[in-house]
């Protein structure tokens, strides 16, 4: 029984990691209706940002949040303004543009690092809490708390603030929102910036766990797509809950069946969900029709 409990805890902590990576992707998807293929690369930039802060000024990764997250917010705003906005009326081109961004960022980092695997040292990374035989890594616990805080903050933000309400209005109907005097371009920039900042946060919080490589973003992005589809396209809580579902499924399947099968199992769930409920558990009906429904 303690074995099962341990696996569930492992799965929940892993779910926190997945949720953290998926939240920014889902925000961008829900509002701007772009599948941002470069989201994993933004996470990767967050990781390297943490490394750079450590390398240049000896900063602990948890302190580098205050540099990396704002930097990625600005980067996200710039991407939206100068890359995606000019392609606003061509959704397919926007998707290709994010794919191009993926290749650009990956190869840029590759050229700079020559493919050496870096690790950010943090005193926190080796701390493990032992609660009645359950081993809880502090880094993963912090990631879990952070994703919960982000979900709470985001759902409060979109419900109770004017910029948040503007974002919701834009999500529901761009044309009507524009007629109401909402600056749609501005709302998009804010959203992409926030999505990139969330990716940066995920990168920094995960940097003490992984050995960085320029391709590491790709390892996260497949899982993030599954999380987003399962939890619900465009829903803040969808990414949160979806992360836990995928995390727990993976841990159970990996331990009790076979680690080689775990990805097959959650992709089966992914496909089943697409067939049964295309908008996901918490998604808005019709949200999956990205690029198909007329937007202007």
């Amino acid at each position: 029984m303690s074995g099962l409990l341990n696996i569930l805890v492992v799965g929940l902590l892993l779910g926190g990691v997945y949720g953290l990576v998926s939240m920014g992707l889902n925000l961008i998807f829900g509002v701007i209706r772009i599948v941002n293929f470069a989201q994993g690369e933004l996470v990767m930039l967050g990781m390297y940002g943490a490394y750079l802060s450590y390398y240049l000024i000896g900063l602990d990764p948890y302190l580098s949040i205050f540099i990396v997250v704002p930097a990625l917010f600005v980067f996200g705003v710039l991407i939206q303004r100068f890359m995606l906005q000019p392609l606003q009326n061509e959704p397919m081109m926007q998707v290709f543009a994010t794919f191009g961004l993926l290749l650009l960022l990956q190869n840029l980092v590759l050229a700079i690092t020559r493919g050496t695997g870096y690790t950010v040292p943090s005193d926190v990374s080796s701390i493990v809490l032992d609660i009645g035989g359950l081993k809880i890594s502090l880094v993963r616990l912090i990631a879990l708390l952070a994703v919960t805080a982000c979900a709470l903050f985001l759902s409060w933000f979109v419900k109770h603030t004017m910029p948040g309400k503007a974002i919701r209005a834009v999500t529901q109907d761009r044309r009507a929102a524009r007629l109401m005097g909402i600056n749609v371009e501005w709302a998009f920039m804010l959203t992409f910036g926030a999505g990139a900042a969330l990716a940066g946060l995920a990168g920094v919080l995960l940097s003490p766990i992984y050995t960085m490589s320029p391709q590491i973003g790709g390892n996260f992005i497949l899982a993030a797509f599954a999380v987003v589809v399962l939890g619900g396209l465009g829903s803040v809580w969808g990414a949160f809950i979806g992360g836990f579902i995928i995390g727990v499924t993976e841990a159970l399947a990996g331990y009790y069946l076979d680690p080689a099968l775990k990805h097959a199992i959650w992709f089966m769930m992914f496909i089943a969900m697409l067939i049964v409920r295309p908008s996901g558990l918490f998604g808005v009906a019709g949200a999956e029709e990205v690029g198909l429904r007329e937007q202007s």
């Binding site: 492992v10 990691v17 493919g115 695997g117 870096y118 050995t211 680690p259 080689a260 775990k262």
Partner: protein, 410 residues
Amino acid sequence: MIRSITRRSLMIAALAGTVLAGGALANGASAQETFKVGAINPYSGPTALYGDEVTRGYELAAHAINEKGGILGRKVEIVRGNATSPQEGIAAIEQLAGRDNVDVFIGTYLSAVSQAASEAALNYNKLYWDTNALAAGLTDRGLPNFVRSGPYSVSFADRSAEFVANLLAKELGKQPSELTVWIEHEDSIYGTSIAERQKEALEAAGVKVLGVGAHNFKAIDLTDSVLRARDAKPDVWINTGYVPDGNLLLRTARDQGFKPAATVFVGTGDTKETLEALTEKGVEGLYVVSYPRPDISEEFGPGSAAYLDAYRKAYNQDPIAPQSMAAFVGFKMMAEAVEAAKSADPAAVKAALAGFDKPEGSYETGFGVKYDDKAQNVRAFPTVIQWQSGKPITVYPVKAAGENKPLKIK
């Protein structure tokens, strides 16, 4: 109209003729002057660091050979062919064989590239000499232009099994039959083929294999793999994989309190990348089966210290990875084979291979040389290091270890 076309095409033909003749002349002249070796490795992309490192070994060997008069009386020149994928491997061969007219090819950090590139080289009837690719299938093909001078996946599997059954059993104060092992591997052909061979070899030695686990080297989480191994309570935990998954496994084992009496990594885990990820304390005692390092004893690998000096002098740093010394030795073996054949022709070189019979301990890496009927050198083996106070120290074979001793197992 007709006249003008004729005149123009005449001019173009004349121009092309001049260029071609000039090119042929230049090629002919340089082919006589130097012995060109096409070095096929990744010089860009995620494995560029290691491709460069392997080619550094070739450069050092070429330098040493040139000081003694070169190959077939010609000065050796290395031409780099960048290949990060099989397709690029083929393109690099075509370019180097066609444009640069190289005499032989040498490589390869990546087995998949070696596979495609050596077949492409056969079309030009050029020798493809492999010093570093590991896949067993490469020599199994029986390609008439392919020779491998370095250790391969089978040598890695056999050496790791022999190390566990001999040295580790002794260190743990157990008979091999009392020893239990969990074999973990990444799930591509690389890890899987080594793990299968390890299982056979360990069981043949009487060691009990409690289980075999596979994982994807890109996995976000490996706690399940670690818990399965931990719950089996093995004396020895063996893993074959790449750097990122290896580091994640070690971290997860630490977090989950999995402390087997000995942990043995195969192929990776002996570089700075692992030391930085786990810290000195985290890697202390970890064994890694890998290419022989320059710290092996002079008795085992004569000239290894001189190699290290030459490397430091040429590149102002210590070797990034141990692959370069195997590449260095492999290049020398290639030169010896071409000299013995008095030609770089693949058929002549292959025929000359039978004449080579040197015992282990003949080269800097401790390799000997004897080729089997598939042109695989069967006297090239990896060695085993142990991390001790932040340094990789060679501990096995005992002769290679010299004064070094493994840490006492608690």
